[in-house]
């Protein structure tokens, strides 16, 4: 039983970081609808920006800020310089997907170029473990979970109570109708990418701390787990992403108690494939309506 609770504790931390990484992806996909293969790179960029600041003596909060800013900047630029120009030509979705792959290649290797391939790590004060009821968590763990909850609430507030958030939901429902209502859909999309990268960059910093070492493939290695959580919760549903992250995070850590922990990710991938086959719209949606392939308008 103790083991199980330990697993739950780890699961919550993993879920927290995963949620911070997944919710922005879901937000972006709900508004801009681009399956972004470079999403992992937003995390990596954040992690390395934090490293830079850390090297020059920055504390946790400064690093976090740097990570968020770097992630946001890269995301914004990728959309403004690469995706939106191509999007004007109305290409197939697959072409945009391929472009994000190219972006991922470029960003990842630029990082490799500037920082080298050696594993780096942060120089942050040690974190003391605390016993919270039956769970054993460090202060850093608690901070991670706490910040994740705070940011989830912030996203919720954004979507539900701000004019911009409502505009995001409107664009998500129908880009055309939003324009007709007077909303500048392209502007909303640009800002959404900024928010996406900002939160993801911060998640990258936390991921870097949690995995102990940084490498240029930090984000990409995590990408499929992020997609698993996003798809489980329903692509384009930020709230679903929170739930998806919780499920995948817990599943990964608890499964590690029963099978070798190196198969953790396989559990996530397996859930991903299962979801895509059985409930491609996420576990909260109805199964795909039956109908022959290729029905015309």
């Amino acid at each position: 039983m103790n083991n199980l609770l330990l697993g739950v504790g780890f699961g919550l931390v993993t879920a927290a970081i995963l949620a911070l990484a997944t919710v922005p992806l879901s937000l972006q996909m709900s508004v801009a609808r681009i399956p972004n293969f470079a999403h992992g790179e937003f995390l990596t960029v954040g992690a390395y920006a934090a490293y830079l600041v850390n090297e020059h003596g920055g504390n946790f909060w400064l690093c976090a800020l740097a990570a968020a800013a770097a992630g946001g900047g890269v995301a914004f630029l990728m959309n403004a310089l690469l995706l939106q120009p191509f999007a004007r030509r109305k290409p197939k979705l697959l072409i945009l997907f391929i472009l994000t792959i190219a972006a991922s290649l470029i960003i990842q290797n630029l990082i490799l170029l500037f920082f080298g391939g050696n594993s780096l790590s942060y120089n942050l004060p040690q974190s003391a473990p605390h016993k919270i009821g039956p769970l054993l968590l460090t202060s850093l763990n608690l901070l991670t979970i706490g910040l994740a909850i705070v940011l989830m609430i912030a996203v919720h507030v954004l979507l539900k109570y701000t004019k911009f958030g409502k505009a995001q939901r409107a664009v998500s429902d129908s880009r055309d109708l939003a324009r007709v209502t007077g909303i500048n859909s392209e502007g909303v999309i640009r800002l959404t990418w900024l928010i996406d990268g900002t939160i993801a960059g911060f998640a990258g910093f936390l991921l870097g701390i949690s995995s102990g070492t940084l490498s240029p493939t930090l984000g990409q290695g995590y990408l499929l787990v992020i997609f698993a959580a996003a798809i489980l919760g329903g692509i384009g549903k930020p709230y679903g992403a929170m739930a998806g992250a919780l499920v995948i995070g817990l599943a990964m850590e608890i499964s590690a108690l029963y099978i070798p922990s190196s198969y953790k990710e396989a559990v996530a991938f397996g859930l991903l494939i299962l979801t895509l086959l059985v409930r491609p719209n996420g576990i909260f949606a109805a199964p795909r309506a039956s109908g022959a392939a290729g029905a015309t308008a």
Binding site: P35, L82, F86, K92, L93, L94, I95, F97, I98, L99, I101, A102, A103, S104, L105, I106, Q108, N109, L110, L112, L113, G116, G117, Q220, L224, F227, A228, I231, P260, S262, Y263, E265, A266, F269, G270, L272, I273, L276, L277, P280, R288, S290, G291, A292, A293, G294, A295, T296, A297
Partner: protein
């Protein structure tokens, strides 16, 4: 010879083979597969454990098999196993997934595979990997990767692969695969089981990838999971994009460019600081930028996909009939054993007629052209596979009974019933929202009714998938013409001819010459039909370049080529200029003359009126009236349905 250059060339050749594998999946079939390199790895591993001696590694290391069998068997095993695993992976990933989800699923499969192989060490020695593969063919002679001899083996493999794939891409199979990439809805409407076609392409790609993997393992004599990541697959995509998607030669060029060219160029960039990987990093950044540049400036790549040339085989060459030899007959399904009647070679005279400039075809002759060699008059010989004379007695060709189809809460079709008489030209009209388009989808198998029965020639077809309905002889057109844009007009015509098992892979591979002769009849007929619609001079143009009106005409020609028994026309003259409209009326009449039943949805009522004797009216999902146009015009309900009611009694 310079050992370094030999090594470079060998890597390039192997890379080219792997690129050809991806070209089958992506270039031919349009499948965005990220798992390709996993199948290369499978090939490498299988080759290794077949050629290595039994494992004597201390646990937990070790590997399975270890048969110490020769090079060739290792390669063949690699191809087969990679193909088998592709079948499994493809069956999972191809289940109606959107393009990007398909890619993600293949990525997930590849990563799971990598994880399992890395972790489960008894399988392939985990992350340590395998090494020490014996030099290929060393028992035969003094061969080895150090000399140029292994390079020669690889070049031979590349040439063989290239020739096989070229043969396949030009065969009916290759044409079918490419059609699915262009427009899979149209492919289904013309009788193709899209899922099966895509799966076959996926497996074929896997086999070639396995070959590449085996050659790779034999060359490096070592293989471990670190050498295969998604990045490797993206490099191959870069090769294909740059060289030319779909063009085998272009792909080979692209492979050399990316693997050898860029590798070499970036070798001369000095190492930056203490970063040992700076060369690699720069190389990949350059490749990433190249992908973006190519997609922006020249998405088709250096060598665009080649257009098939339309050539008639010399009449009477070889055996035109696809009869299966006796010993194989036992294993062949019945419908393949007999050569279909269309396989008879054209006479030399008929063939000669079309090498010259086409003359004006008189209008009456058009009907004769449309008359399918498969259809028979009501006196009833055997028609297309399965149909027998009894059917010809039933005057009703299509019967719709109480069909209901609802979307969400809205009943698009709400208990509609009607009959279409054989050989008739019947119209289906109704105001917007009447449910006509839904009805067409339900009849043609693109949608299934919630309840009710649809019968075609006495057989129930409701719920059958589109390709099955098409194979029964019920074809349809679409509101906007759906042609296979990247293929030539002639290819479009050939694809439309009845399927009858011609596009099997083995036929494309083994009986290419016979197929060409058999296709002669189709080509001749296609030319006649194209001539009848006035498109003969465009037969070698990519169909996507045609104007809207020309695409419509092509659609007619394709429908006629399919030798249908019933054709559903969905607003055939929408967006067509008045001159063309005349032509279209003639074509539709010619179809009916040729004993094809036609059911036509139209909004242009004067157009419809001239052609249709019998017209069915739908409104709000139900059939409200039927009869001649004059009768309908006098029918108050019909007029109200169109113009609306002025004053509504408040309910």
């Amino acid at each position: 010879m310079n050992q370094y250059l030999v090594g470079l060339a060998t890597t390039g050749v192997i890379f080219a083979i792997i690129a050809l594998a991806l070209n089958v999946r992506w270039g031919w079939a349009g499948e965005f597969d990220i798992a390709l390199f996993a199948f290369v790895a499978i090939g490498a591993y299988v080759y290794s454990v077949i050629t290595l001696p039994p494992s004597n590694l201390p646990p937990p290391g070790g590997y399975i098999l270890g048969l110490r069998w020769p090079f060739l068997i290792g390669v063949i095993a690699a191809v087969i196993i990679a193909g088998l695993l592709s079948a499994i992976a493809g069956a999972v990933a191809l289940r109606k997934l959107r393009d990007d989800y398909f890619g993600i699923t293949t990525l997930a499969i590849a990563l799971i595979l990598a994880l399992v192989i890395g972790q489960y060490t008894p399988l392939f020695d985990g992350y340590e990997g395998l090494y020490g593969m014996p030099q290929p063919l060393s028992s035969v002679g003094a061969l080895g990767p150090d000399g140029g001899n292994y390079l020669i083996i690889c070049i031979i493999a590349l040439i063989v692969t290239y020739l096989v794939l070229e043969r396949l891409v030009k065969s009916p199979f290759g044409r079918t695969v490419r059609s699915v990439r262009e427009d899979d809805t149209a492919s289904a409407a013309f009788g193709r089981n899209v899922y099966q076609v895509k799966l076959k392409a996926y497996i074929l790609g896997g086999c070639v990838a396995g070959l590449g993997g085996a050659l790779l393992a034999a060359y490096i004599t070592a293989f471990n999971p670190y050498g295969w990541t998604p990045t490797e697959t993206f490099l191959i995509y870069a090769a294909i994009f740059i060289g030319g998607t779909g063009n085998s030669l272009g792909v080979i060029i692209g492979a050399f460019f990316v693997e050898v060219g860029i590798q070499e160029v970036t070798r001369y960039i000095p190492q930056i600081g203490s970063n040992a990987s700076s060369g690699d990093a720069i190389r990949l950044v350059v490749i990433g930028l190249l992908i973006v540049a190519i997609l922006w400036f020249r998405p088709q790549g250096i060598l665009p996909e080649r257009r098939a040339r339309d050539r008639l085989a010399v009449a009477g060459s070889g055996a035109g009939l696809l009869t299966v030899p006796g010993w194989a007959a036992r294993f062949t399904p019945p419908r393949f054993r007999q050569a279909p009647r269309w396989a008879e070679p054209a006479s030399a005279a008929a063939a000669a007629q079309f090498t010259a400039e086409p003359a004006e075809v008189p209008a009456q002759a058009m009907a004769l052209t449309f008359r399918s060699p498969l259809l028979v008059s009501v006196s009833g010989e055997a028609g297309p596979a399965g149909a027998v004379g009894a059917v010809a007695d039933d005057p009703v060709s299509l019967r719709v009974s109480n069909v209901v189809r609802a979307f969400g809460g809205v009943r698009a079709v709400d208990g509609a019933s009607f009959e279409v008489r054989r050989g008739s030209l019947t119209g289906l009209i109704g105001p917007n929202g009447a449910g006509k388009s839904t009805m067409i989808n339900l009849i043609s198998g693109f949608d299934a009714p919630d309840s009710g029965v649809i019968e075609f020639d006495g057989k129930r077809i409701d719920g059958k998938p589109a390709h099955a309905v098409a194979r029964l002889g019920l074809m349809r057109s679409f509101q906007t013409p759906r042609e296979w844009g990247g293929l030539t007009v002639m290819d479009n015509m050939l694809l439309s001819a009845p399927v009858e098992g011609r596009d099997a892979v083995w036929r494309g591979l083994l009986t290419a010459r016979r197929l060409k002769a058999a296709e002669n009849a189709d080509r001749v007929r296609a030319r006649e039909l194209l001539d009848a619609v006035g498109l003969l001079r465009l037969k070698d143009e990519p169909a996507g370049n045609l104007s809207g009106g020309q695409k419509r005409l092509l659609e007619f020609a394709r429908l006629a080529a399919a030798s249908p028994r019933l054709v559903l026309l969905d607003e055939p003259q929408a967006g067509v200029n008045p001159v063309l409209r005349e032509r279209m009326s003639d074509l539709i009449l010619a179809m009916v003359e040729a004993d094809i039943t036609v059911l036509m949805v139209e909004h242009n009522l004067p157009f419809l009126e001239r052609l249709c004797g019998h017209i069915i009216v739908m409104a709000l999902g139900q059939t409200i009236a039927s009869g001649s146009m004059a009768e309908l015009r006098a029918n108050r309900d019909v007029v109200d349905a169109y113009l609306g009611q002025e004053h509504v009694a408040d309910v």
